[in-house]
């Protein structure tokens, strides 16, 4: 077991839990090794915690929890890179962005999913060509204005 001091506290992880992102996440090329952690049981969210940089963790979620029909076609090049056959178990996360103090303004980056080969634990952040998915997908829609009651 390895131990690191993260911003959430002390984290123990086994080497076999580590996910290797080819080229890191986009904009973070120097960090390629992560573990997926939960801070709360039954939360729909996870943190992608860098094991190389203890202060670095990305909030992520499985997009199906929020967008049930999310099923992007992954580029063939990515499937080849990760050695994904049709029946290879895989995990898909998207990053989640929450402005400080404004959870209702949370967005998911549906255009840049994190694709993980669950067998080899090799992963890559994919940039989808499919314009159906947006970089800032708003999860919570504004509550409708309360209906005005006639006096």
């Amino acid at each position: 077991m390895n131990t690191i001091q993260t911003r959430f506290g002390l984290l123990e992880f086994a080497p076999e839990d580590v996910i290797h992102f080819q080229g890191g996440l986009i904009g973070f090329p120097n960090h390629s090794q992560f573990v997926v952690i939960s801070l709360k049981e039954q939360s729909r969210f996870r943190w992608l915690q860098s094991v190389e940089e203890p202060s670095l963790a990305f909030l992520v979620a499985e997009p199906q929890h929020f967008v049930p029909d999310y099923a992007p076609t992954m580029p063939e090049k990515v499937a080849r890179l990760l050695g994904l056959a049709e029946d290879t178990p895989r995990l898909v996360f998207t990053t989640a962005n929450i402005p400080h103090g404004k959870p209702s303004e949370m967005t998911l980056n549906l255009a840049g999913p994190l694709l993980i080969n669950a067998e080899t634990r090799m992963a890559v952040q994919v940039v989808l060509e499919d314009e159906a998915y947006t970089i800032k997908h708003k999860v919570f829609h504004q509550a409708p204005e309360p209906a005005k009651v006639a006096a």
Binding site: G23, L39, N97, H100, N109, G112, I135, K136
Partner: protein, 68 residues
Amino acid sequence: MLVLTRKVHQSIVIGDEIEVVVLEVRGEQVRLGIKAPKNVTVHRKEIYEQIVDENKGAADVRPEDVPE
């Protein structure tokens, strides 16, 4: 910045493994074909920058702001 002039169907090579071909020029639009090894990622810059921003945002989320 290196500046080169190319015609349609001409290309440039970058290093030994990357080739960029001008496929078509139509008004203000240029179509490029890119041959690169599978570990080299190619992105439209504006999309790339937006994803960098989203990743930075996701790394800046405070745990107390995360909904149940």
